[in-house]
Symmetry: C2
Subunit: 313 residues, 2 copies
Amino acid sequence: MSEPVKWCVAVIGCGLIGESWAALCLAHGHDVRAWDPAAERREGFAERLTRPLAQLAEVGQTGPGGNLPRGHLTVTASLPEAVAQADIVQENAPEQIPLKRALYTEIEAAATEDAIIASSTSALTWSDLTPEMRNPDRFITAHPFNPPHLIPLVELYGTQERVLERAEAFYRGIGRIPARLKKDAVGHIANRLASALWREAVHIVAEDIADVASVDAALRHGPGLRWSVVGAHMAYHLGGGTGGMAHYLAHLGPSQARRWKTLGSRDLTPEVCDLLIAGIAEEAAGRSIADLEAERDAGLIRALKVREKDNDV
Amino acid sequence: MSEPVKWCVAVIGCGLIGESWAALCLAHGHDVRAWDPAAERREGFAERLTRPLAQLAEVGQTGPGGNLPRGHLTVTASLPEAVAQADIVQENAPEQIPLKRALYTEIEAAATEDAIIASSTSALTWSDLTPEMRNPDRFITAHPFNPPHLIPLVELYGTQERVLERAEAFYRGIGRIPARLKKDAVGHIANRLASALWREAVHIVAEDIADVASVDAALRHGPGLRWSVVGAHMAYHLGGGTGGMAHYLAHLGPSQARRWKTLGSRDLTPEVCDLLIAGIAEEAAGRSIADLEAERDAGLIRALKVREKDNDV
């Protein structure tokens, strides 16, 4: 099958994640047909894309060469109308297994046999979602990282190499960087890493080693900045000097293993929650969620503008 | 005591970390007196600063206003000559307790009473290092993150607020961003977070969920990029929507706790080490350590050029 230059993308679920996917696809010249069961989320959807589309234009995410006309957006009144012509369906429903399974039954009934069905699920796995599907082979999990139109990562898992290759080409085409899982896993890769780090970040606060704002500052100006350029494994490869990872493991592996034993794990008791809530209020220092999001987006946009497309360290 | 505009900085230990500190101090107009017990590390020290100094100039780290003349470098033949006039002594010796303790005895004998004595130690704690000191009150741990002249973080712990305030002002003056510990801890903050994350990164490879290169790609293009802008606690505050951290903890805290239970911990067995070594070779794809370091530095320099000085999200 030859791939379309202009894909028809069905966006199912018009919340924040759906907005990001729609903006990305439109910016890269694809047509989008969007649907949400809630009329209040269908209404005003086009207007809500103004901000992500402006941000994408700012970071140069405007299609190959930047000269493709923006795609066409249609908000449909029903699910079948959204998916009937779709080359790919991107589902962004709430994280409830029965709800998602029921949606896939509806999608399969209306979509063509070749359409890829992709779920943005962060908490559920491929195996959780597919048991009732007629053709699970064309189903993949394709998990973006919030805010999805600015963070390039999309994590892919599926069972058919051909489907994954088509999906990978599509996501690369809208400026995403795919990372493949070889096995279905709760939290995919990125949220497993984020959870592991946050567990220790909570422990540090609960142990009174440092306050919330200091932990966040240490992360942003230390390992976070470095991990935006060099992955965790690669950092230790470089930490091994000219001997690389083998030298690192032989000489510093034992001290890592010892440090692992000093790491903590805390229950999110009311006392720990109170510490986190008080600490984040201190860090926010009066800034509203909207202020903080705007600062986050501005910081991400500055960072994205200077990122090499093929930064492959 | 009024603080000098131009500090005299003793750099003890002329390896990679010493080079970074010396370059930072000189670039910001301070005088540096450097010493190392090994003649081969004293020799050529000035020449080895050429590259970090050029990198600092590239990111605009050339002192307040960028118009201070570069400081003066003296490589001394003995430790007392390096520390006698120092306002601050930055020690970068190997991570061995007896060695460091012996150095502090020598430093205390030669330095003025007001000199701050700071250790770059990553693996040891304030309590490990101070028992034999005459005046431990002016001793602090000041841990930079590799590569220290490019990564802004310095993690501070000490027992005297006045000393910490002076040190903090000094480090801010050379473009560093200090994060304070309230309690002595192995790995300070950043390496505890990095260890916690890497433990899971190793587990993901050992479980065959994803390969080394995919884990690194997911980190760099997902959470790493975001953590370079927004800390881990702040990310969940924003993940809670308008209800912030309190809403996040109430609604998604339990799912985090469940995810924590699925995270792994692996011994660095020969089999696991082989997987990591083979995986990193695949990711490096023939690039030497020097190539990879050059790419890392180039990526960091691009990121640093667009960072806001007071990016405080």
